[in-house]
């Protein structure tokens, strides 16, 4: 393979990138494992005072929920949602599940998914 980067075929709009948004001084999540399917949960006991936008986000995380679902419920773009989740994780308000791209035990994950689908 000579070319590892996808050139988007004939299209000329390859320069589109996610809107860069600055939140608490950052424009991208520091935790680069943060995926749109990453599971997020509110940690008990962390009762810091939060701005309403953050409070709203934390309220959605009473049970495990994905970054994508948070974005959908809050009507906020994914990049922004990720940055906000990232900020809250660093403050100890939210906890994360295993990243989707954790390939350590691919086979176990696939087997779990297969069994679940067959049960549907």
């Amino acid at each position: 393979m000579t070319d590892d980067s996808w050139d988007g075929g004939d299209e000329t709009e390859a320069d589109l990138v996610p809107l860069y948004v600055l939140v608490n001084g950052r424009t991208a999540p520091r935790n680069t494992d943060l995926d749109l399917a990453t599971q997020v949960i509110a940690l008990p006991g962390a009762h810091v005072r939060l701005e309403p936008v953050y409070r709203q986000l934390v309220d959605l995380c009473a049970d495990w929920i994905s970054v994508a679902e948070i974005g959908a419920h809050l009507h906020r773009p994914l990049t922004l949602t990720k940055v906000m989740v990232d900020v809250l994780v660093e403050q100890g308000v939210l906890g994360l599940g295993a990243p989707a791209q954790d390939t350590g035990d691919d086979r176990d994950l696939l087997l779990a998914v297969l069994a679940g689908l067959e049960r549907l």
Binding site: T27, D35, S66, L117
Partner: protein, 184 residues
Amino acid sequence: MNGERRSAKVVVAGGFGTGKTTFVGAVSEIPPLTTEERLTAAGVGVDDLTGLDEKGTTTVALDFGRITVSPEVVLYLFGTPGQDRFWFVWDELAQGAIGAVVLADTRRLDSSFPAVDYFERRKVPFVVAVNRFFGECRYSADEIRAAMELPPEVPLTFCDARERESARDALVRLVRHALSTVVT
């Protein structure tokens, strides 16, 4: 903190109007949700949380659904955006995905070529699911394979994206295929 809860992703791709959203909705345990990514020309920024200026930005909507496969594992199904020019978004969806279902419509197979190309290049396991829009398909699996230039190892299946069982079977095909590619 690394909790016990894990997620897995499947990308549902294919050309414009091939039934991606229908497929996701058929198997999802929740009504499909839509999340969006805002794209802009490289280098343009916005400097606060609320100042999301609409000007010069393109919104790409992503439909997705969810299937809780066990108490520890949730599977997310993400439909690719209808237009295939938002490669950045495809990259984000494909990153770490267990694989992809590429839906195809025999009336315009070529609309699914970019998806096939994409997953081949990225070495993401995928299956092609021919969506039966009109009941019986006029072409044989071999004819479709030849037209799409599918490598022999890529499974080809027929489905009705409106039916849960049918969509589920296509997913099972994909996961079995993905398992066959995992080195042990």
